[in-house]
Assembly symmetry: C2
Homo-oligomer: 293 residues x 2
Protein backbone atom coordinates (compact mmCIF):
# COMPACT_ATOMS: atom_id res chain seq x y z
CA UNK A 1 0.00 0.00 0.00
CA UNK A 2 1.32 3.42 -0.99
CA UNK A 3 -0.02 6.59 0.57
CA UNK A 4 0.50 10.16 -0.59
CA UNK A 5 -0.11 13.07 1.73
CA UNK A 6 0.35 16.76 0.85
CA UNK A 7 0.14 18.94 3.96
CA UNK A 8 -1.32 22.41 3.67
CA UNK A 9 -0.03 25.24 5.83
CA UNK A 10 3.19 25.84 3.91
CA UNK A 11 3.05 29.57 3.41
CA UNK A 12 5.06 31.76 1.10
CA UNK A 13 8.74 30.80 0.91
CA UNK A 14 11.19 33.69 0.76
CA UNK A 15 14.84 34.03 -0.22
CA UNK A 16 17.06 32.64 2.51
CA UNK A 17 14.34 30.50 4.11
CA UNK A 18 15.38 27.06 5.29
CA UNK A 19 13.10 24.76 3.30
CA UNK A 20 13.73 21.82 5.66
CA UNK A 21 12.47 23.89 8.60
CA UNK A 22 9.46 25.05 6.61
CA UNK A 23 8.55 21.43 5.83
CA UNK A 24 9.17 20.21 9.38
CA UNK A 25 6.89 22.96 10.72
CA UNK A 26 4.12 22.06 8.26
CA UNK A 27 4.33 18.38 9.18
CA UNK A 28 4.27 19.25 12.89
CA UNK A 29 1.06 21.25 12.33
CA UNK A 30 -0.51 18.03 11.07
CA UNK A 31 1.05 15.88 13.84
CA UNK A 32 2.99 14.10 11.13
CA UNK A 33 6.59 13.05 10.97
CA UNK A 34 8.64 11.36 8.31
CA UNK A 35 9.04 7.61 8.70
CA UNK A 36 11.82 5.38 7.50
CA UNK A 37 11.56 4.91 3.72
CA UNK A 38 9.40 7.97 3.04
CA UNK A 39 10.00 9.97 -0.11
CA UNK A 40 9.40 13.69 0.03
CA UNK A 41 8.54 15.37 -3.27
CA UNK A 42 9.08 19.12 -3.28
CA UNK A 43 7.93 21.48 -6.03
CA UNK A 44 10.99 23.19 -7.51
CA UNK A 45 9.29 26.55 -7.13
CA UNK A 46 9.79 26.74 -3.37
CA UNK A 47 13.43 25.69 -3.72
CA UNK A 48 13.95 28.44 -6.31
CA UNK A 49 12.25 30.97 -4.05
CA UNK A 50 14.42 29.99 -1.08
CA UNK A 51 17.45 30.35 -3.36
CA UNK A 52 16.27 33.80 -4.46
CA UNK A 53 16.19 32.82 -8.14
CA UNK A 54 13.93 35.78 -8.99
CA UNK A 55 14.36 38.16 -11.90
CA UNK A 56 12.39 40.99 -13.49
CA UNK A 57 9.68 39.83 -15.88
CA UNK A 58 11.02 42.41 -18.35
CA UNK A 59 14.24 40.42 -18.61
CA UNK A 60 12.42 37.18 -19.34
CA UNK A 61 14.03 36.42 -22.71
CA UNK A 62 17.47 37.40 -21.46
CA UNK A 63 17.07 35.11 -18.44
CA UNK A 64 15.87 32.25 -20.63
CA UNK A 65 18.89 32.76 -22.89
CA UNK A 66 21.25 32.71 -19.92
CA UNK A 67 19.80 29.36 -18.83
CA UNK A 68 20.00 27.91 -22.35
CA UNK A 69 22.69 25.76 -23.91
CA UNK A 70 20.95 25.33 -27.27
CA UNK A 71 17.58 25.61 -28.95
CA UNK A 72 15.98 22.24 -29.53
CA UNK A 73 12.83 23.44 -31.28
CA UNK A 74 10.89 26.62 -31.75
CA UNK A 75 7.35 27.53 -32.72
CA UNK A 76 7.10 31.26 -33.20
CA UNK A 77 7.91 32.81 -29.81
CA UNK A 78 7.84 29.50 -27.90
CA UNK A 79 11.24 27.88 -27.65
CA UNK A 80 12.03 24.43 -26.32
CA UNK A 81 15.62 24.57 -25.14
CA UNK A 82 18.24 22.43 -23.50
CA UNK A 83 19.22 24.13 -20.27
CA UNK A 84 22.52 24.30 -18.43
CA UNK A 85 21.06 21.64 -16.13
CA UNK A 86 20.61 19.27 -19.09
CA UNK A 87 16.82 19.58 -19.04
CA UNK A 88 14.97 19.98 -22.32
CA UNK A 89 12.06 22.24 -21.56
CA UNK A 90 9.91 25.07 -22.90
CA UNK A 91 11.28 28.47 -21.90
CA UNK A 92 14.11 26.89 -19.87
CA UNK A 93 11.63 26.39 -17.02
CA UNK A 94 11.44 30.15 -16.41
CA UNK A 95 7.97 30.84 -15.04
CA UNK A 96 5.84 33.49 -13.42
CA UNK A 97 3.05 31.43 -11.89
CA UNK A 98 2.82 31.68 -8.10
CA UNK A 99 5.28 34.58 -8.28
CA UNK A 100 4.56 38.26 -7.57
CA UNK A 101 3.49 40.25 -10.64
CA UNK A 102 6.42 41.72 -12.57
CA UNK A 103 8.72 38.97 -11.34
CA UNK A 104 9.79 35.64 -12.81
CA UNK A 105 11.48 32.65 -11.26
CA UNK A 106 14.29 30.49 -12.64
CA UNK A 107 14.82 26.82 -11.83
CA UNK A 108 17.06 26.01 -8.84
CA UNK A 109 20.79 26.38 -9.48
CA UNK A 110 21.52 22.70 -8.82
CA UNK A 111 18.42 20.70 -7.95
CA UNK A 112 20.34 17.52 -7.12
CA UNK A 113 22.47 19.42 -4.62
CA UNK A 114 19.41 21.14 -3.14
CA UNK A 115 17.71 17.75 -2.81
CA UNK A 116 20.73 16.37 -0.96
CA UNK A 117 20.80 19.32 1.47
CA UNK A 118 17.13 18.72 2.19
CA UNK A 119 17.51 14.95 2.46
CA UNK A 120 20.37 15.28 4.89
CA UNK A 121 18.54 17.81 7.10
CA UNK A 122 15.27 15.84 7.17
CA UNK A 123 17.03 12.54 7.73
CA UNK A 124 18.95 14.04 10.67
CA UNK A 125 15.87 15.67 12.16
CA UNK A 126 13.63 12.62 12.03
CA UNK A 127 16.41 10.07 12.49
CA UNK A 128 15.27 7.96 9.53
CA UNK A 129 16.25 7.23 5.94
CA UNK A 130 14.26 9.41 3.54
CA UNK A 131 14.48 10.22 -0.15
CA UNK A 132 13.93 13.66 -1.64
CA UNK A 133 12.76 14.58 -5.12
CA UNK A 134 12.52 18.08 -6.52
CA UNK A 135 9.81 18.16 -9.15
CA UNK A 136 8.92 20.38 -12.05
CA UNK A 137 6.06 20.47 -14.53
CA UNK A 138 6.66 19.96 -18.24
CA UNK A 139 4.86 19.24 -21.48
CA UNK A 140 5.50 16.06 -23.42
CA UNK A 141 6.16 15.22 -27.02
CA UNK A 142 3.19 13.62 -28.87
CA UNK A 143 0.95 13.97 -25.82
CA UNK A 144 -1.33 16.76 -24.70
CA UNK A 145 -1.06 18.22 -21.20
CA UNK A 146 1.73 18.37 -18.70
CA UNK A 147 3.01 16.10 -15.97
CA UNK A 148 5.46 16.48 -13.12
CA UNK A 149 8.85 14.85 -13.30
CA UNK A 150 12.04 14.85 -11.23
CA UNK A 151 14.67 17.54 -11.82
CA UNK A 152 16.52 16.92 -8.58
CA UNK A 153 16.88 13.88 -6.39
CA UNK A 154 18.78 12.50 -3.40
CA UNK A 155 18.54 9.13 -1.72
CA UNK A 156 16.12 7.78 -4.34
CA UNK A 157 16.64 4.94 -6.79
CA UNK A 158 15.79 7.17 -9.76
CA UNK A 159 16.00 4.28 -12.23
CA UNK A 160 14.94 0.74 -11.39
CA UNK A 161 16.71 -1.46 -13.89
CA UNK A 162 15.06 -4.62 -15.12
CA UNK A 163 17.99 -5.51 -17.37
CA UNK A 164 18.67 -9.22 -17.20
CA UNK A 165 15.54 -9.93 -15.14
CA UNK A 166 13.09 -12.41 -16.55
CA UNK A 167 9.34 -12.82 -16.28
CA UNK A 168 7.46 -15.96 -15.22
CA UNK A 169 7.93 -17.33 -18.74
CA UNK A 170 11.69 -16.85 -18.69
CA UNK A 171 11.56 -14.00 -21.21
CA UNK A 172 14.09 -11.27 -20.63
CA UNK A 173 12.18 -8.05 -19.97
CA UNK A 174 12.29 -5.41 -22.69
CA UNK A 175 11.71 -2.58 -20.27
CA UNK A 176 15.29 -1.70 -19.47
CA UNK A 177 14.54 0.55 -16.52
CA UNK A 178 11.61 2.28 -14.90
CA UNK A 179 12.07 5.99 -14.22
CA UNK A 180 10.95 5.66 -10.60
CA UNK A 181 11.80 9.27 -9.69
CA UNK A 182 9.56 10.58 -12.46
CA UNK A 183 6.70 8.28 -11.44
CA UNK A 184 7.08 9.46 -7.84
CA UNK A 185 6.98 13.10 -8.98
CA UNK A 186 3.86 12.43 -11.08
CA UNK A 187 2.16 10.61 -8.20
CA UNK A 188 2.94 13.47 -5.81
CA UNK A 189 1.41 16.01 -8.20
CA UNK A 190 -1.96 14.29 -7.83
CA UNK A 191 -1.90 15.17 -4.12
CA UNK A 192 -0.24 18.58 -4.36
CA UNK A 193 -2.21 20.13 -7.23
CA UNK A 194 -1.06 23.47 -8.61
CA UNK A 195 -3.19 26.04 -6.84
CA UNK A 196 -3.83 25.02 -3.27
CA UNK A 197 -0.59 26.02 -1.60
CA UNK A 198 0.58 22.46 -1.03
CA UNK A 199 4.00 22.34 -2.69
CA UNK A 200 5.21 19.25 -0.83
CA UNK A 201 4.00 15.65 -0.72
CA UNK A 202 5.09 12.71 1.39
CA UNK A 203 4.96 9.33 -0.36
CA UNK A 204 4.93 6.39 2.03
CA UNK A 205 5.28 2.72 1.13
CA UNK A 206 8.03 3.06 -1.46
CA UNK A 207 10.92 2.35 0.89
CA UNK A 208 12.46 -0.08 -1.60
CA UNK A 209 13.33 2.94 -3.68
CA UNK A 210 15.01 4.85 -0.85
CA UNK A 211 18.73 4.20 -1.16
CA UNK A 212 22.07 5.60 -0.07
CA UNK A 213 23.03 8.90 -1.73
CA UNK A 214 24.45 8.31 -5.20
CA UNK A 215 21.81 8.19 -7.92
CA UNK A 216 20.61 11.63 -8.99
CA UNK A 217 17.99 13.12 -11.28
CA UNK A 218 20.77 13.88 -13.73
CA UNK A 219 20.86 10.13 -14.46
CA UNK A 220 17.47 10.65 -16.14
CA UNK A 221 18.73 13.07 -18.78
CA UNK A 222 19.69 12.51 -22.39
CA UNK A 223 21.39 15.61 -23.76
CA UNK A 224 23.08 16.93 -26.89
CA UNK A 225 22.60 14.74 -29.95
CA UNK A 226 22.14 11.49 -27.98
CA UNK A 227 18.40 11.51 -28.55
CA UNK A 228 16.57 10.58 -31.78
CA UNK A 229 14.69 13.85 -31.27
CA UNK A 230 17.65 16.01 -30.36
CA UNK A 231 16.34 18.70 -32.70
CA UNK A 232 12.75 19.49 -33.65
CA UNK A 233 11.56 18.26 -37.04
CA UNK A 234 11.84 21.78 -38.46
CA UNK A 235 15.10 22.60 -36.72
CA UNK A 236 16.73 19.36 -37.90
CA UNK A 237 16.16 20.40 -41.52
CA UNK A 238 17.41 23.94 -40.94
CA UNK A 239 20.47 22.56 -39.14
CA UNK A 240 21.23 20.14 -41.97
CA UNK A 241 20.86 22.92 -44.55
CA UNK A 242 23.33 25.04 -42.59
CA UNK A 243 25.75 22.11 -42.42
CA UNK A 244 25.43 21.73 -46.19
CA UNK A 245 26.24 25.39 -46.92
CA UNK A 246 29.11 25.31 -44.42
CA UNK A 247 27.62 27.55 -41.72
CA UNK A 248 26.43 25.31 -38.87
CA UNK A 249 27.25 28.12 -36.44
CA UNK A 250 24.26 30.10 -37.72
CA UNK A 251 21.83 27.56 -36.22
CA UNK A 252 20.72 29.58 -33.17
CA UNK A 253 20.16 32.68 -35.26
CA UNK A 254 18.34 30.87 -38.06
CA UNK A 255 15.92 28.83 -35.94
CA UNK A 256 14.51 32.07 -34.48
CA UNK A 257 13.27 33.07 -37.93
CA UNK A 258 9.93 32.03 -39.32
CA UNK A 259 9.43 33.87 -42.60
CA UNK A 260 10.53 31.70 -45.53
CA UNK A 261 12.36 34.50 -47.33
CA UNK A 262 14.17 35.51 -44.17
CA UNK A 263 15.11 31.90 -43.55
CA UNK A 264 16.42 31.53 -47.08
CA UNK A 265 18.42 34.75 -46.82
CA UNK A 266 19.93 33.82 -43.46
CA UNK A 267 20.91 30.32 -44.58
CA UNK A 268 22.41 31.34 -47.92
CA UNK A 269 23.95 34.69 -46.89
CA UNK A 270 27.40 35.03 -48.44
CA UNK A 271 27.36 31.55 -49.97
CA UNK A 272 27.91 31.08 -53.70
CA UNK A 273 25.23 28.65 -54.83
CA UNK A 274 23.93 27.45 -58.18
CA UNK A 275 20.29 28.05 -59.07
CA UNK A 276 19.30 24.38 -58.69
CA UNK A 277 20.80 24.34 -55.19
CA UNK A 278 18.98 27.55 -54.28
CA UNK A 279 15.71 26.03 -55.50
CA UNK A 280 16.42 22.92 -53.46
CA UNK A 281 17.02 24.97 -50.30
CA UNK A 282 13.78 26.90 -50.82
CA UNK A 283 11.81 23.68 -51.26
CA UNK A 284 13.32 22.19 -48.13
CA UNK A 285 12.49 25.27 -46.07
CA UNK A 286 8.87 24.87 -47.14
CA UNK A 287 8.97 21.15 -46.34
CA UNK A 288 10.45 21.91 -42.92
CA UNK A 289 7.48 23.95 -41.75
CA UNK A 290 4.53 22.69 -43.76
CA UNK A 291 1.81 23.88 -41.41
CA UNK A 292 2.88 27.41 -40.68
CA UNK A 293 3.52 29.38 -43.88
Amino acid sequence: MITIFAPDGIGEVNPGDDVAEVIIAALRQHDQQLLDGDVLVVTSKIISKAEGRFADAEDRQQQIDSETVRTVARRKSMGIVETKHGLTQAGAGVDNSNVAPGRILLLPVDSDASAEVLRSALSDHFGVRVGVIISDTAGRVWRVGQTDHAIGSAGVRVLDSYAGRTDDYGNELHVTSVAIADELAAAADLAKTKLEGRPVAVIRGVGDHVVAPGPSARDLLRTGDEDLFWRGSREAVLGALLAAVGYPERYEQVVRLWDRDELFAAITDGVDLTDPVRTMIRTMIVAAQPLWP
Copy 2:
Protein backbone atom coordinates in the same frame (compact mmCIF):
# COMPACT_ATOMS: atom_id res chain seq x y z
CA MET B 1 -4.67 11.55 1.30
CA ILE B 2 -4.28 9.29 -1.71
CA THR B 3 -3.78 5.55 -1.34
CA ILE B 4 -2.67 3.06 -3.98
CA PHE B 5 -3.25 -0.64 -3.54
CA ALA B 6 -2.25 -3.36 -6.02
CA PRO B 7 -3.80 -6.71 -5.07
CA ASP B 8 -1.90 -9.87 -5.82
CA GLY B 9 -3.72 -13.06 -6.73
CA ILE B 10 -4.59 -12.10 -10.29
CA GLY B 11 -3.43 -15.13 -12.18
CA GLU B 12 -2.86 -15.61 -15.87
CA VAL B 13 -5.53 -13.98 -18.03
CA ASN B 14 -6.62 -15.96 -21.09
CA PRO B 15 -8.48 -15.10 -24.29
CA GLY B 16 -12.17 -14.69 -23.57
CA ASP B 17 -11.74 -14.08 -19.83
CA ASP B 18 -13.95 -11.42 -18.30
CA VAL B 19 -11.43 -8.95 -16.86
CA ALA B 20 -14.03 -7.34 -14.60
CA GLU B 21 -14.73 -10.72 -12.97
CA VAL B 22 -11.01 -11.41 -12.61
CA ILE B 23 -10.56 -8.09 -10.81
CA ILE B 24 -13.63 -8.51 -8.61
CA ALA B 25 -12.38 -11.95 -7.55
CA ALA B 26 -8.94 -10.59 -6.69
CA LEU B 27 -10.42 -7.76 -4.63
CA ARG B 28 -12.71 -10.21 -2.83
CA GLN B 29 -9.68 -12.33 -1.89
CA HIS B 30 -8.33 -9.25 -0.08
CA ASP B 31 -11.73 -8.34 1.43
CA GLN B 32 -11.63 -5.19 -0.64
CA GLN B 33 -14.27 -3.50 -2.69
CA LEU B 34 -14.25 -0.43 -4.86
CA LEU B 35 -15.52 2.73 -3.21
CA ASP B 36 -17.12 5.76 -4.77
CA GLY B 37 -14.46 7.82 -6.59
CA ASP B 38 -11.87 5.05 -6.90
CA VAL B 39 -9.78 4.85 -10.05
CA LEU B 40 -8.73 1.44 -11.24
CA VAL B 41 -5.55 1.30 -13.33
CA VAL B 42 -5.20 -1.86 -15.41
CA THR B 43 -2.07 -2.88 -17.29
CA SER B 44 -2.91 -3.11 -21.00
CA LYS B 45 -1.31 -6.53 -21.16
CA ILE B 46 -4.17 -8.31 -19.39
CA ILE B 47 -6.72 -6.54 -21.58
CA SER B 48 -4.80 -7.66 -24.68
CA LYS B 49 -4.64 -11.21 -23.36
CA ALA B 50 -8.37 -11.28 -22.67
CA GLU B 51 -8.92 -9.98 -26.21
CA GLY B 52 -6.67 -12.71 -27.60
CA ARG B 53 -4.30 -10.22 -29.25
CA PHE B 54 -1.55 -12.83 -29.55
CA ALA B 55 0.58 -13.51 -32.61
CA ASP B 56 3.61 -15.62 -33.48
CA ALA B 57 6.93 -14.06 -32.51
CA GLU B 58 8.16 -14.92 -36.02
CA ASP B 59 5.65 -12.45 -37.45
CA ARG B 60 6.80 -9.66 -35.16
CA GLN B 61 7.78 -7.16 -37.87
CA GLN B 62 4.69 -7.91 -39.92
CA GLN B 63 2.49 -7.37 -36.85
CA ILE B 64 4.27 -4.11 -36.02
CA ASP B 65 3.75 -2.95 -39.60
CA SER B 66 0.06 -3.80 -39.46
CA GLU B 67 -0.29 -1.66 -36.32
CA THR B 68 1.67 1.24 -37.85
CA VAL B 69 0.39 4.34 -39.59
CA ARG B 70 3.82 5.88 -40.18
CA THR B 71 7.40 5.75 -39.00
CA VAL B 72 8.28 8.64 -36.72
CA ALA B 73 11.94 7.77 -36.15
CA ARG B 74 14.25 4.84 -36.55
CA ARG B 75 17.60 3.79 -35.13
CA LYS B 76 18.80 0.71 -36.94
CA SER B 77 16.24 -2.00 -36.22
CA MET B 78 14.37 0.00 -33.56
CA GLY B 79 11.47 1.96 -34.98
CA ILE B 80 9.34 4.52 -33.19
CA VAL B 81 6.03 4.56 -34.99
CA GLU B 82 2.64 6.18 -34.85
CA THR B 83 0.08 3.43 -34.40
CA LYS B 84 -3.46 3.09 -35.65
CA HIS B 85 -4.51 4.08 -32.12
CA GLY B 86 -2.64 7.40 -32.45
CA LEU B 87 0.07 6.37 -30.00
CA THR B 88 3.68 7.14 -30.83
CA GLN B 89 5.68 4.28 -29.46
CA ALA B 90 8.66 2.00 -30.05
CA GLY B 91 7.66 -1.14 -31.94
CA ALA B 92 3.97 -0.14 -31.95
CA GLY B 93 3.72 -1.48 -28.40
CA VAL B 94 4.15 -5.06 -29.62
CA ASP B 95 5.83 -6.94 -26.78
CA ASN B 96 6.75 -10.41 -25.61
CA SER B 97 7.29 -9.84 -21.90
CA ASN B 98 4.94 -11.82 -19.66
CA VAL B 99 3.88 -13.78 -22.74
CA ALA B 100 4.63 -17.45 -23.51
CA PRO B 101 7.86 -17.99 -25.47
CA GLY B 102 7.36 -17.83 -29.23
CA ARG B 103 4.36 -15.55 -28.83
CA ILE B 104 3.95 -11.78 -28.91
CA LEU B 105 1.13 -9.56 -27.78
CA LEU B 106 -0.35 -6.50 -29.51
CA LEU B 107 -1.99 -3.57 -27.74
CA PRO B 108 -5.76 -3.80 -27.15
CA VAL B 109 -7.91 -3.11 -30.21
CA ASP B 110 -9.59 -0.06 -28.66
CA SER B 111 -8.37 0.70 -25.15
CA ASP B 112 -10.91 3.46 -24.52
CA ALA B 113 -13.75 1.08 -25.38
CA SER B 114 -12.24 -1.67 -23.22
CA ALA B 115 -11.92 0.80 -20.35
CA GLU B 116 -15.58 1.75 -20.70
CA VAL B 117 -16.70 -1.91 -20.67
CA LEU B 118 -14.70 -2.42 -17.49
CA ARG B 119 -15.90 0.82 -15.88
CA SER B 120 -19.50 -0.02 -16.56
CA ALA B 121 -19.20 -3.57 -15.19
CA LEU B 122 -17.32 -2.52 -12.04
CA SER B 123 -19.59 0.43 -11.41
CA ASP B 124 -22.65 -1.82 -11.68
CA HIS B 125 -21.15 -4.52 -9.48
CA PHE B 126 -20.07 -2.24 -6.65
CA GLY B 127 -22.85 0.31 -7.12
CA VAL B 128 -20.44 3.26 -7.10
CA ARG B 129 -18.85 5.72 -9.52
CA VAL B 130 -15.39 4.52 -10.55
CA GLY B 131 -12.90 5.53 -13.21
CA VAL B 132 -10.82 3.09 -15.26
CA ILE B 133 -7.45 3.64 -16.91
CA ILE B 134 -5.66 1.18 -19.15
CA SER B 135 -1.94 1.78 -18.87
CA ASP B 136 1.09 0.99 -20.96
CA THR B 137 4.82 1.48 -20.50
CA ALA B 138 6.81 3.72 -22.83
CA GLY B 139 10.14 5.46 -23.16
CA ARG B 140 10.39 9.23 -23.29
CA VAL B 141 12.19 11.71 -25.45
CA TRP B 142 15.24 13.37 -23.77
CA ARG B 143 14.84 11.26 -20.65
CA VAL B 144 16.23 7.87 -19.72
CA GLY B 145 13.95 5.08 -18.54
CA GLN B 146 10.31 4.36 -19.04
CA THR B 147 7.11 5.34 -17.29
CA ASP B 148 3.52 4.20 -17.47
CA HIS B 149 0.92 6.36 -19.12
CA ALA B 150 -2.75 6.04 -20.09
CA ILE B 151 -3.69 4.48 -23.43
CA GLY B 152 -7.33 3.91 -22.51
CA SER B 153 -9.66 5.63 -20.11
CA ALA B 154 -13.29 5.84 -19.04
CA GLY B 155 -14.92 7.97 -16.38
CA VAL B 156 -11.68 9.86 -15.65
CA ARG B 157 -10.96 13.54 -16.12
CA VAL B 158 -7.92 12.78 -18.29
CA LEU B 159 -6.95 16.45 -18.56
CA ASP B 160 -7.44 18.94 -15.75
CA SER B 161 -7.43 22.34 -17.40
CA TYR B 162 -6.05 25.33 -15.56
CA ALA B 163 -6.78 27.68 -18.45
CA GLY B 164 -8.10 30.95 -17.13
CA ARG B 165 -7.41 30.05 -13.50
CA THR B 166 -5.18 32.37 -11.54
CA ASP B 167 -2.78 31.87 -8.67
CA ASP B 168 -2.78 33.78 -5.35
CA TYR B 169 -1.00 36.64 -7.09
CA GLY B 170 -3.60 36.94 -9.83
CA ASN B 171 -1.26 35.56 -12.50
CA GLU B 172 -2.92 33.42 -15.10
CA LEU B 173 -1.38 29.95 -14.90
CA HIS B 174 0.88 28.91 -17.75
CA VAL B 175 0.21 25.24 -17.23
CA THR B 176 -2.70 24.80 -19.57
CA SER B 177 -3.72 21.37 -18.38
CA VAL B 178 -2.41 18.56 -16.24
CA ALA B 179 -2.47 15.10 -17.83
CA ILE B 180 -4.19 13.54 -14.83
CA ALA B 181 -4.71 10.15 -16.50
CA ASP B 182 -0.98 9.83 -17.18
CA GLU B 183 -0.09 10.81 -13.62
CA LEU B 184 -2.57 8.23 -12.32
CA ALA B 185 -1.02 5.56 -14.57
CA ALA B 186 2.49 6.48 -13.37
CA ALA B 187 1.40 6.44 -9.73
CA ALA B 188 -0.22 3.02 -10.16
CA ASP B 189 2.97 1.59 -11.67
CA LEU B 190 4.78 2.27 -8.38
CA ALA B 191 2.40 -0.16 -6.67
CA LYS B 192 2.04 -2.70 -9.48
CA THR B 193 5.68 -3.12 -10.52
CA LYS B 194 6.45 -5.18 -13.61
CA LEU B 195 7.25 -8.64 -12.30
CA GLU B 196 5.09 -9.48 -9.33
CA GLY B 197 1.86 -10.48 -11.01
CA ARG B 198 -0.05 -7.43 -9.86
CA PRO B 199 -1.37 -5.90 -13.08
CA VAL B 200 -4.10 -3.83 -11.43
CA ALA B 201 -4.00 -0.97 -8.92
CA VAL B 202 -6.78 0.85 -7.10
CA ILE B 203 -6.16 4.55 -6.49
CA ARG B 204 -8.33 6.02 -3.76
CA GLY B 205 -8.68 9.68 -2.84
CA VAL B 206 -8.81 11.09 -6.36
CA GLY B 207 -12.60 11.21 -6.64
CA ASP B 208 -12.48 14.75 -8.01
CA HIS B 209 -11.09 13.23 -11.18
CA VAL B 210 -13.83 10.61 -11.54
CA VAL B 211 -16.39 12.04 -13.95
CA ALA B 212 -19.23 10.97 -16.21
CA PRO B 213 -18.14 9.04 -19.31
CA GLY B 214 -16.91 11.40 -22.03
CA PRO B 215 -13.22 12.22 -21.75
CA SER B 216 -10.98 9.48 -23.12
CA ALA B 217 -7.28 8.72 -23.36
CA ARG B 218 -7.45 9.70 -27.01
CA ASP B 219 -7.74 13.31 -25.79
CA LEU B 220 -4.10 12.96 -24.71
CA LEU B 221 -2.73 12.29 -28.19
CA ARG B 222 -1.07 14.59 -30.68
CA THR B 223 -0.75 12.84 -34.03
CA GLY B 224 0.42 13.44 -37.59
CA ASP B 225 2.42 16.63 -38.05
CA GLU B 226 0.79 18.49 -35.13
CA ASP B 227 3.83 18.01 -32.94
CA LEU B 228 7.13 19.92 -33.15
CA PHE B 229 8.75 16.47 -33.07
CA TRP B 230 6.46 14.76 -35.53
CA ARG B 231 9.50 13.22 -37.21
CA GLY B 232 12.84 12.26 -35.68
CA SER B 233 15.74 14.64 -36.29
CA ARG B 234 17.19 12.28 -38.90
CA GLU B 235 13.85 11.39 -40.47
CA ALA B 236 12.86 15.06 -40.79
CA VAL B 237 15.92 15.69 -42.97
CA LEU B 238 15.31 12.59 -45.09
CA GLY B 239 11.66 13.57 -45.49
CA ALA B 240 12.57 17.11 -46.55
CA LEU B 241 15.11 15.78 -49.06
CA LEU B 242 12.44 13.52 -50.55
CA ALA B 243 10.04 16.46 -50.76
CA ALA B 244 12.75 18.44 -52.56
CA VAL B 245 13.37 15.74 -55.19
CA GLY B 246 9.63 15.24 -55.64
CA TYR B 247 9.30 11.77 -54.08
CA PRO B 248 7.78 12.21 -50.60
CA GLU B 249 6.08 8.82 -51.02
CA ARG B 250 9.46 7.10 -50.65
CA TYR B 251 9.68 8.16 -46.99
CA GLU B 252 8.80 4.81 -45.38
CA GLN B 253 11.21 2.94 -47.62
CA VAL B 254 14.05 5.44 -47.18
CA VAL B 255 13.94 5.78 -43.39
CA ARG B 256 14.58 2.04 -43.07
CA LEU B 257 18.00 2.48 -44.67
CA TRP B 258 21.12 3.36 -42.75
CA ASP B 259 24.04 3.15 -45.16
CA ARG B 260 24.81 6.58 -46.63
CA ASP B 261 25.27 5.30 -50.18
CA GLU B 262 22.04 3.34 -50.01
CA LEU B 263 20.25 6.39 -48.65
CA PHE B 264 21.64 8.56 -51.43
CA ALA B 265 20.66 6.03 -54.09
CA ALA B 266 17.13 5.61 -52.73
CA ILE B 267 16.52 9.36 -52.46
CA THR B 268 17.91 10.26 -55.89
CA ASP B 269 16.77 7.19 -57.85
CA GLY B 270 15.43 8.26 -61.24
CA VAL B 271 15.82 11.97 -60.52
CA ASP B 272 17.84 14.18 -62.85
CA LEU B 273 20.06 16.29 -60.59
CA THR B 274 23.02 18.60 -61.11
CA ASP B 275 26.32 17.76 -59.45
CA PRO B 276 26.07 20.59 -56.88
CA VAL B 277 22.62 19.35 -55.84
CA ARG B 278 23.92 15.79 -55.55
CA THR B 279 26.76 17.03 -53.35
CA MET B 280 24.28 18.95 -51.24
CA ILE B 281 22.12 15.86 -50.74
CA ARG B 282 25.15 13.79 -49.73
CA THR B 283 26.22 16.39 -47.18
CA MET B 284 22.75 16.58 -45.70
CA ILE B 285 22.53 12.80 -45.35
CA VAL B 286 25.75 12.93 -43.33
CA ALA B 287 24.43 15.83 -41.26
CA ALA B 288 21.21 13.92 -40.61
CA GLN B 289 22.92 11.03 -38.84
CA PRO B 290 26.13 12.46 -37.44
CA LEU B 291 26.70 9.83 -34.77
CA TRP B 292 26.15 6.64 -36.69
CA PRO B 293 28.26 6.53 -39.84
